[in-house]
């Protein structure tokens, strides 16, 4: 997905003079050709994430459209107040594009992981959040963000599904005959489909958890909702509770645990440890549905 991001953003630099890219060393090599071609609009501030975000705010205030990129823990966690004030409070927009996600950097340890990024952005107003599950979903999201000035977060991952699903609405992948609905965000879809292969449940997918497709969920008339999210568990519990406030339902929220693993290994290992592999998801979902 990172390669797709670099290619799409490089093309946008060519096509749209409003486009700017702001980096803090991460992925600077990948953007080197674009930087040579557009030295005024591809800006690498060095290892300075507060400045990276402040620069994005300043660029936006002059009418440009900044794409800001780093590892999720540096782009979001570290620069949270700049996101809140240099963008939101200024009524300025930017497209934040992160890599690393929850545990893509499994071998690097917790310093390079941000399971809480979406929850942090949920404390702020006006953020659209995209969590693509396939590289082919990425270009359309980045291009759509070029046409307005809103605040957009694109959470790229090295984990991906076998096929892409375009469209920001909730998409039914498999329809069951019961009121059980499993809502899967981004790259966990394949694992969730495998986990529920022989369960009579509806599986719905979205790569755009914010704004959440509330109408799409209500249209499925769920009696049980299982949220499967590749970031902090329970991140969407408030949204789901509000969406179904007048509908009797039970809910289960699966995602990355708050507990720091303090283990390395592969992303697949971390998925297993957090119960987000197919076996773990099946265990949780089957147990919940009874």
């Amino acid at each position: 997905m990172r390669e797709t991001f670099v290619a799409t953003t490089t093309a946008l630099l060519e096509e749209d003079p409003r486009t700017a890219v702001v980096l803090a060393d991460i992925s600077a090599d990948a953007f080197a050709p674009a930087m040579r071609r557009h030295p005024d609009r591809v800006i690498n501030v060095g290892i300075r994430e507060q400045l990276m975000t402040g620069v994005a705010g300043g660029l936006a205030l002059t009418g440009m459209r900044p794409y800001v990129h780093s590892y999720a823990p540096f782009a979001v966690d570290r620069a949270y107040e700049q996101i809140k004030l240099d963008l939101g409070h200024q009524d300025a927009g930017a497209v934040l594009v992160s890599i690393g996600a929850s545990y893509d950097a499994s071998a690097e340890g917790y310093t390079h992981q941000s399971p809480g990024d979406v929850a942090l952005l949920d404390t702020l107003d006006g953020w659209t959040v995209h969590v693509p599950g396939h590289p082919d979903e990425v270009p359309g999201l980045l291009r759509a963000a070029a046409h307005h000035d809103d605040r957009v977060y694109v959470r790229l991952s090295s984990q991906q599904n076998s096929r892409a699903h375009p469209g920001t609405e909730l998409k039914v992948i498999r329809r069951g005959r019961t009121g059980a609905v499993v809502v899967v965000v981004g790259p966990l879809l394949d694992a969730a489909l495998e986990a529920t292969r022989d369960l009579d449940v509806t599986v719905a997918y979205t790569h755009t958890p914010r704004p959440f497709d509330t109408d799409g969920l209500r249209a499925l008339r769920p009696a049980e909702v299982v949220m499967v999210e590749p970031y902090l568990e329970g991140t969407s519990s408030r949204i789901i509770a509000a969406a179904l406030a007048d509908v009797p339902h039970r809910s289960l929220h699966l995602g990355v645990s708050r507990t720091e693993e303090r283990r390395y290994g592969s992303p697949a290992d971390h998925a297993r440890w957090h119960g987000l592999d197919a076996a773990g998801l099946r265990r949780s979902i089957a147990g919940f549905l009874g």
């Binding site: 700017a20 800006i43 501030v45 402040g54 660029l59 205030l61 409070h89």
Partner: protein, 222 residues
């Protein structure tokens, strides 16, 4: 001995319940010189893309800022009478969304310089080569580490940008070696922050690299 064209009445109208009045007045002469003699911006051009930009990073104590903007016609003088009231557009920290002529909303320290760097980069990328970017900080505000990310980057890239540090010796631990020594790679002017002629002489010249004007005023509380 302050000589200013801001009518004293304007400050009186606003400072009745001003939260941080000593620091408010530390910036009065600097702001007047900027808006009266230096900045190419007026109420008529406040939304023009090539207007000069002034960013007040030190958002606390904005009474002088409000008085100057009102004196220059950016908003009605009557607004000064209801500082931080429930319907007031003027708070104890300025909000760009609410106040014509205010470029950034500030209050939390250490945000203006980064925004100014981005503003200068955005203007340059769009070919507004005649447009200048100014940002005003307090000496205590320099304690925030975010400033030093911006200071080092602007120096390394030779970004044309004018920072003004109003020095009223309010940083708790001071700045041993002087404020100027924190701006490595920048041009430096140190002036009397009450001397309009000296302020104008330091602020007016266009430069092709970052420049800091350290405007020294009375120590806070003196």
């Amino acid at each position: 001995m302050t000589v200013t064209a801001v009518e004293p009445e304007l400050l009186t109208r606003i400072t009745g319940d001003e939260k941080h009045s000593p620091s408010a007045h530390s910036t009065l002469d600097i702001l007047w010189v900027l808006y009266d003699r230096v900045l190419r911006v007026s109420p008529e051009t406040a939304d023009e893309p090539d207007r000069d930009r002034f960013l007040l990073s030190k958002g606390h104590g904005p009474a002088a800022y409000y008085a100057v903007l009102a004196a220059k016609g950016f908003f009605p003088v009557a607004w000064l009478d209801d500082l931080a009231g429930p319907e007031s557009r003027l708070g104890h920290h300025p909000d760009r969304v609410l106040i014509p002529g205010v470029e950034i909303g500030t209050g939390s320290l250490g945000h203006g310089l980064g925004l100014a760097v981005g503003t200068a980069l955005g203007l340059r990328a769009q070919g507004y080569d005649e447009t200048r970017t100014f940002v005003l900080l307090g000496d205590a505000e320099l304690d925030e580490g975010s400033n030093h990310e911006a200071i080092a980057y602007a120096a390394a890239t030779g970004l044309p940008l004018t920072a003004i540090v109003v020095d009223n010796q309010s940083a708790t631990h001071g700045w041993p070696g002087g404020i100027a020594s924190r701006f490595v790679g920048w041009g430096v002017s140190v002036v009397d922050g009450r001397d309009h002629t000296a302020l104008e002489a330091a602020l007016m010249p266009r430069r092709d690299r970052p420049h800091v004007v350290i405007a020294v005023v009375e120590p806070k509380g003196s």
